[in-house]
């Protein structure tokens, strides 16, 4: 059995040392490749915008519409415009990372240590995204309602205060671990199945993985939008 083909490496990283800080190189490598592809795709699609959309522009407009609907339903008509780029970027980043990790045969590229894979299968990435979401909803609440934002913590009764404070910690925790766990688990399942039965059997699981990946991107973006919407919502 070709161990080099089906070996699983969990928790091994390609370390980059810059001065005193250490980075997970494989995460950045894959994210740069995927984001580069995304940006090329988008610049191709928006190069010649027409009133009569053709080809790629159609797809991008559909995507834009999808993200707008997502942001509008969760955040509300009033401020969704300000947050649409952030929500859309989260969605696109997570989606491209998940699908890129699942679709591209990264194993063909040999690294001295660790392996290339979905950037979202690294806890650093998901925590970074989740913390950005936390910062965003705080910023959204404070910039829209000023100090009145903290009314949210005692709404509808002050009994809610400890729970709402706890929520501020559980939100990023659940966001980051949900994404991380799903993507890592998917990679592990596919890896184990490929290791055990290298033919046919992993294919349905791979499709399931693609499905999970898309759903996770949607969940992440929707929850981020929901938290922002919750922060800017006016209580009466």
């Amino acid at each position: 059995m070709p161990t080099n083909f089906a070996a699983l490496e969990v928790g091994q990283h390609l370390y980059w040392q810059i001065g005193n800080i250490r980075l997970h190189g494989q995460v950045f490598l894959t994210s740069w490749i995927l984001l580069g592809a995304l940006l090329v795709f988008i610049s191709l699609g928006t190069k010649k915008m027409e009133n009569d959309p053709k080809g790629l522009q159609n797809l991008l407009e559909f995507l834009w519409d999808y993200i707008r609907d997502l942001a509008r339903t969760q955040i509300g008509e009033k401020v969704y415009r300000d947050w649409m780029p952030f929500i859309g970027t989260l969605f696109l980043f997570v989606f491209v990372s998940n699908w890129g990790g699942a679709l591209i045969p990264w194993r063909l590229i040999k690294l001295p240590s660790g392996e290339l894979g979905a950037p979202t299968a690294d806890i650093n990435t998901t925590i970074a995204l989740a913390l950005l979401v936390s910062l965003s909803y705080f910023y959204a609440g404070l910039s829209n309602k000023g100090w009145r934002y903290f009314e949210y913590y005692v709404h509808p009764t002050p009994i809610m205060l400890p729970f709402k404070i706890l929520e501020d910690f559980t939100k990023p925790l659940s966001l980051s671990f949900r994404l991380f766990g799903n993507i890592l688990a998917d990679e592990l399942v596919v890896g184990v199945l490929v290791f055990l039965v290298p033919l046919v059997l992993p294919i349905p699981v791979m499709f399931l993985g693609l499905f999970t990946s898309a759903i996770q991107a949607l969940i992440f973006a929707t929850l981020a939008a929901y938290y922002i919407g919750e922060a800017v919502e006016e209580h009466h």
């Binding site: 070996a7 969990v10 928006t46 522009q57 993200i67 696109l92 990435t125």
Partner: protein
Amino acid sequence: MLAFNFFGATEGGLFDINATLPLMAIQVVALTYILNSLFFKPVGNVVEKREKFVSNNIMDAKNKLSEVEKLEADLLSQLQSARSEAQKIVSEAESESDKLYKEALELANNEANASKEKARLEIENQTSSARDQLFKQADDLSELIVNKLILEK
């Protein structure tokens, strides 16, 4: 071989949090700005322009449709009034001709009656004058007969 190395290693592991985290956050923020200027703004402009165009067109069409309906109703009412006017004129003319006919008929009747009466009077006159003459002649004749008889005697 399956090489699971979760927490044990001095270096690495699944939950190895380091500078990747802030750098990834910065990268995502930068990506947000890049995507905003490259994707969300231009596509949004085009889509919203088109949506505005479409809704404007729909509104225009609606306005035109209501105008057409108004004109149609106007024409219909005009047609109706013209029709009723025509009917009025026709009925007026009918009654007028009826009146004229009746008048002419009456006139003719009267004339006929008058000439009939005149003829009757004339006949009566002539009859009476003839009778008078007859009586006179009878008187003459009787006188003559009487005279003759008296003379013969």
